[in-house]
Symmetry: C3
Subunit: 487 residues, 3 copies
């Protein structure tokens, strides 16, 4: 810890944000590596290969409708929208960081999905007969899921890092994700359809740990830009709503065909609906004259989707989903009101988007709800076949529900350990003074990494003419050393 | 009526917009009630329950693709986008009411869908063997439809009510909707795939009746904010386009599998395309130098989707759809130009978003088109089986097309009666001086229910510095009692 | 050519932008024509007709899931979003042309799809037994595709034409498109799933040719509005992201059921991901201090989707897709940096949105990639049946892959010839001084065709009051003949 603190000190030298060499270099090298690795490892699976026509005959498949594409593609596209528009626009709320929010989100997601196809492929879908990874639409969804963890982490450090740092964060984040996911889903055999543990808990604590290592003591110097303006809040609502609407697709995208996908969608739909009401209620309750705070509406309304992730495919029951959403709206909003300021002041964790309230805490709740729901499963409720089917109690995973509950809890712990350990490790790497990040007083400003258009629009000719004159006058004023023109 | 007028007077006392107690209380109480009622009544249906695996065997279903989820889920997601992004952003056009437009739309939709699952469930899908409502993806779509009626009503009173009033409006709106829907669809056995009558006519007149009761004589005091700014109009176009694009899904979401959904989508696609051209034409024709008005483009282009709702699943024929769209674009745009001002001045109906032109009138047209198309149906066009199939002329609904046409018209009347009666009743309740609505001079302002960010962004350092100085100067000016600095 | 130049001169007379007669007239006449032609020619196909219930029995189809609606509708909706929101919002980047960008895009797309259904219907799906065109969901997708060519062309002349000109451009554009498409796909029998040649090459050069004919020598007088502001760039990102996300649906929408759609989606997904990284890299490399330029991110990130269009359904292999995307990101971004200014200065082609870099060049690359991939196809990779299946080597199109490669290249040439020839022809028509376009100094301004809201919002009471005072003062100043108030 002392080591970390001293490291924090030593890196506080004048900042150079010129990334003209490092940033293109990282992009080119990594993309080239992707091409080589894809060339060596990645091929189409039997449902996306031209041999499908023969495969169908072999397996006696009578209809193209049985191709997994038709079961998963609509959900895939919804998830895709969540990753790029949802996460991207959710972070546009800062008044002068919208380009970076939506642009760098775009960049790291586009890189991350490629690396995820490789990492997840090695762990999950390596075909041992020819040593190739076979990809199909489910791989694409999983890659999107994987990258979501890194985008969540971006939320904690939004405005404080350079794009090069984000690329590094994503490289390690995807790697760590693939390993913890393999341990949780394949070794521990926990179920986690919507990724409460695997995605949200991991992504949340990964980002918070990095933010803790990268603590900026003088961040209040950027206070001026650390807030929203009217229209940036409306932009952020685009992100919120697309996340909220498509969350049922997120939680059901890779569950079992048939009842699995159907039930996961219903549970998520209900949980999210419930969260909205309690978020509004708490937000209003803790403000003078009952005004609602946009920050809460943009974020906490989504907590129900996170928290129902693990249990969405179980028989959580409609009222169970409502209860989960009810609690999460309250906890998440209270988190924004009390916990985030506390964490910043006392724990030195600066969490720009409040991912602790939106992802980390609800993710943990989701893991716990999942464990309890699994432990409480019974043949009466699920049916004999349904129970086996839902939990994959087959082969050497022939467990009782109670035991499964324990393993679910174990999975949650693995996610937290990987997140915090990995986050501190990656944070230390990002602390190196070579990545071109901005100084504390220049945070939350697009100016340093983007060509920003210079003038606001002129509204009608008269105003425009005068604006022009005023700007000239102002410039004069500045040039005459801030003295007012004499009269 | 005199009673109403005197009621209007008596409620004009100083307004208190503090909803810190009432608003959270309503949210918590209603959400808690939902949890209890869901616990008692709502369960998964056989296609979303884990018993599906057994059910399939029983019914000899060979493929998971037969699960209703795959027939309806893509359409459901489109409808979901229309409800939350479409309706929400369509109403962001006001310069300072975007938070409330998109935020309160979010709130009441999230509440409404829960209450709708219960209300519609009791009427439509109560399983009498165990007294439970069984829900699946079609229930979710119907809940979204139900809440659309209330969101339409919100359009008439946008900017003039408190969130507590909106919650009350939604509670009653959903209840009334479920009853009129049951009467129209199940008792009268009218067909109404896209809800021209059930959703749009009802929602439109429900909102207009409420607005009539809540008439604000001094609304011109809020004139300053009763208009758009450049970017708020662009935001509204997001709403318009998502409504327009996904309307084919709206009208086809719950029609028959196969040709029913297919035909409804085609008809709606065509009708909407036609509406766009006539809307542009009329808008240009009635403005000096042929300029187009954004209000018309944002709203009237959608009228064709409303008006084709009932007949979308019938053999309306592609050219029939074009004709419907052609007429509605004209009527709706003329409505904005002539009818809305007339209604405000003469009938004392203040209709913020012009829902009379977008929903009420086209809805009535849609009902009439539906009745005519049904009455004109023949075995030659539909085929013997097709006719029975399309109109469900089975059991004790074995009717001739002409008779069906009559019943369709009856359905339209029911919708109007429920809407106006219910609207006046709910309006009277909302007139009570306990709901925290704003005074006439503070309408269309987010300030009273939202924490609004204080300053506009600064654009570049020089300007920023000077803006800062100017604001200071301005403040001085204000403080020095509006006297100009002496020279 | 000299003729064109003199034509350019002769039309430079004072401009009249009053389109109050011409614009409504065009809309009404053309929409009426559509209704009549649809009445004569267009009917539902067997999958959207009520006879489907009988058709199913006849063909022994056991499940409604076999209706083409379920294979194509989700992709159709994604394509629909690309056409209306994607293209529309991509063009909102100009500070004062967002209404026209999104509004006229809406108008011409809505007209174009109707005309496309007719034109493509006559060429592709005319039922010779009854002389009717039978439409289904695939027709709707094709109509959307067809109109995309015209929307691309709009990008080149954005800000410089009147809506009447756009309607004319669309009428001819759709006509030309349908003919070249018929030649390329049916006569030459080239494959072009995602339309690299048919849509993007054609649309790109069509627009550029028109822009060349309509060259405006004094366009720098509109320089003031020929740029973005902060929020307009964020709006444009909405367009970019929806295009980027849904491009896999675009390229897979009309490919073969099963593996064809599956593979096309995967290839596009990968190519686009790769493009993002190289776009960021090149953009950063060519700017001082490595800043990224929003114009490149908004546009060049999409080039990979264009360039993989033709080959998306082939066995391009995942790494092949990455390579295509890699190259296109570089080429397209370099195009924005070097080629666009060169074309404007030397070739007198003014390309507002840079469609040469986003559509024309990547389209040509896509055609070439398609030709090479087709020529390199082998039974080893595709399987015997797969090869026949993928390239439709049946009937009198029983070709070897090498020969097919040659035909693919021929298809590309046809697209270019039609685009340039058609573009010059249509450009000459649009050059006539009757269409109500604006003068050079009034380009890129919504003011001339739209009712634009007058004032920017006021942010809080003090500012508002003072703004009001300042506007008054300014107006005084203007009225007093721009003399500063005496002191």
């Amino acid at each position: 810890m002392g080591c970390l603190d001293s490291m924090r000190e030593c890196c506080d030298r004048p900042k150079n944000t010129n990334i003209r060499i490092s940033f293109p270099a990282v992009c080119f090298v990594w993309q080239t590596a992707m091409i080589i690795l894809f060339g060596v490892f990645i091929r189409y699976d039997e449902e996306s290969d031209t041999h499908w026509v023969e495969y169908k005959k072999e397996k006696n498949i009578t209809s193209d409708a049985e191709n997994d594409f038709y079961f998963r593609y609509p959900s895939f596209q919804d998830v895709h929208v969540m990753i790029f528009v949802g996460f991207g626009f959710l972070m546009t709320f800062l008044q002068r960081y919208s380009f970076s929010a939506v642009g760098f989100n775009f960049l790291i997601a586009a890189f991350g999905i490629q690396w995820a196809l490789l990492m997840q492929g090695w762990f999950h879908s390596l075909d041992y007969t020819d040593g190739k990874i076979k990809i199909g639409v489910e791989s694409l969804i999983n890659a999107d899921f994987c990258v979501a963890g890194c985008l969540i982490a971006y939320g904690a450090i939004l405005g404080k890092v350079s794009p090069v740092q984000l690329m590094v964060l994503t490289l390690f984040g995807v790697t760590l994700f693939a390993i913890e996911e393999y341990i949780i889903l394949n070794i521990i055999h926990a179920k986690d359809a919507g990724g409460s543990m695997v995605i949200h808990t991991f992504g949340g604590y990964y980002g918070l740990s990095i933010s803790w290592v990268l603590y900026r003591p003088n961040l209040e110097q950027s206070k001026r830009l650390h807030g929203s303006v009217y229209h940036s809040d409306v932009f952020a609502m685009i992100g919120t709503l697309f996340l909220w609407m498509f969350w049922p697709s997120f939680n059901s995208a890779i569950t079992d065909h048939g009842d699995g996908q159907h039930r996961a969608a219903i549970n998520t739909y209900l949980s999210l609906a419930s969260t909205v009401l309690t978020t509004f209620a708490i937000s209003s309750l803790f403000q003078k004259t009952g005004k609602v705070d946009m920050v809460h509406i943009q974020n906490s309304t989504l907590a129900g989707g996170v928290a129902v992730g693990t249990a969405a495919e179980f028989m959580l029951m409609p009222y169970g989903s409502l209860i989960v959403g009810f609690c999460c709206g309250i906890i998440s909003t209270l988190g924004y009101i009390f916990l985030t300021p506390f964490m910043e002041r006392k724990l030195k964790i600066q969490d720009t988007c409040g991912i602790h309230n939106l992802h980390a805490m609800p993710g943990v709740i989701g893991g716990i709800v999942g464990a309890i729901t699994a432990a409480a499963a019974s043949k009466e409720v699920y049916g004999t076949e349904g129970l086996i089917n839902t939990f994959d109690f087959e082969g050497h995973f022939e467990r009782s529900p109670t035991v499964q509950g324990g393993y679910q809890a174990a999975g949650l712990c693995v996610a937290i350990v990987f997140a915090i350990g990995g986050g501190i490790f990656v944070g230390c790497i990002l602390k190196l003074p070579i990545w071109g990040d901005v100084a504390d007083e220049h945070c939350f400003d697009d100016e340093f990494y983007w060509e920003v258009p210079e003038e606001e629009e002129s509204l009608h000719p008269v105003l425009e003419y005068n604006n022009h004159m005023m700007i000239n006058k102002r410039t004069d004023m500045v040039e005459s050393n801030f003295s007012e023109p004499q009269t």
